[in-house]
C-alpha cells in the first residue's frame, strides 16, 4: 500500500523567539501570550496561538502569519528589558503539514523522533532531526507539522515527494 498521507507546504508562520526567565517574560507580555506550558517539548494554546516550550528558558510563539504585525506591536521586541530576548524569526522556518492515517510513518522516515502518542503527546512540540536537518515537529489534530530552516525548504519538499512516491 502506498502511504495514505497528505503533504502540503505551508511556508512561513508567525514565529517569535522568547528567551529568559518565565516570570520575566510573563511580566513583559504575559497577557498577550497563551499560558506557559509546564512540560518540556509541549505547547499550550490560546486564540490560534501556541506557545511552545522548546528549550531551557526558551519558548516559541507560533501563530498564523497574519497575526505577525499585531503580535509585534504587543510584544515590542526592541523595547523589551535586558533580561528577556524577543526576536521575530517568522522567516527562518518553512512549515510543512503532514496529515492522514500514515502521517506518523512519514515522520518516521524523516526523523529519529519517537512520535508514538504514548511518547509524543497531543500537544507535543520539539526540535529534532529530520532529513539530516534541525527540524521542529508539532503534533496536530490530524497529523504533524514539520518545519525546517527556510533555505532548506526546497530540499525537504524534494525529500517528502520522494517519501510519498
Amino acid at each position: 500500500m502506498a502511504y495514505n498521507a497528505k503533504i502540503s507546504r505551508v511556508g512561513a508562520m508567525t514565529l517569535f523567539d522568547l528567551k529568559g526567565k518565565q516570570t520575566a517574560l510573563a511580566g513583559w507580555a504575559g497577557e498577550a501570550l497563551p499560558p506557559f506550558p509546564n512540560t518540556p517539548n509541549t505547547s499550550a494554546s490560546k486564540d490560534e496561538m501556541e506557545l511552545l516550550f522548546i528549550g531551557p528558558d526558551h519558548w516559541l510563539l507560533h501563530a498564523p502569519l497574519g497575526r505577525e504585525a499585531e503580535l509585534e506591536t504587543v510584544l515590542t521586541p526592541t523595547e523589551a528589558p535586558p533580561e528577556i530576548s524577543i526576536v521575530r524569526i517568522s522567516d527562518t522556518q518553512t512549515f510543512f503539514s503532514i496529515t492522514g492515517p500514515d502521517a506518523e510513518q512519514i515522520i518516521s522516515i524523516a526523523s529519529p523522533l519517537d512520535a508514538h502518542l504514548s511518547v509524543f503527546p497531543e500537544n507535543g512540540a520539539t526540535f529534532t532531526e529530520a532529513f539530516g536537518l534541525k527540524a521542529l515537529i508539532l503534533r496536530k489534530r490530524d497529523g504533524f507539522s514539520l518545519s525546517v530552516e527556510q533555505s532548506f525548504g526546497d530540499m525537504v519538499e524534494d525529500y517528502l515527494e520522494r517519501a510519498m512516491s
Binding site: P40, G55, P56, H58, P112, E129, L133, K134
Partner: protein, 84 residues
C-alpha cells in the same frame, strides 16, 4: 548510534547531538598561570578506559550543552562516579 539523555528533552538519538569532547580541568586564569599550566589545560585531554565525563550539545534539539558520564569500554551511560 548512541541514545543520549538530554536534561531537557530526555533520550534522543545521537544524530541530534554534537560531541564536545571530554571534560578536562577548568580554564586557568591566563593572566596569572604559568605556561605549563596553560598547556596542560589546552592539551591534556582525559582519555580513560572506563567512565569519562564528556560534553554534548543538543544541536538539533533544545540547544543545551550538558555533560554525561559514558564508559569508553561499553558505551554505557553511567552515573557520575561517587553518586549512588
Amino acid at each position: 548510534m548512541l541514545l543520549i539523555k538530554c536534561p531537557f528533552c530526555r533520550e534522543r538519538s545521537e544524530i541530534e547531538f554534537v560531541y564536545g569532547g571530554p571534560v578536562g580541568p577548568d580554564r586557568p586564569d591566563p593572566t596569572i598561570c604559568t605556561d605549563d599550566e596553560w598547556l596542560d589545560y589546552l592539551l591534556m585531554v582525559p582519555n580513560p578506559t572506563g567512565p569519562v565525563e564528556e560534553r554534548w550539545w543538543h544541536a538539533k534539539g533544545c540547544g543545551d550543552w550538558f555533560t554525561i558520564w559514558r564508559s569508553t569500554v561499553t558505551h554505557e551511560v553511567v552515573d557520575r562516579p561517587g553518586d549512588e
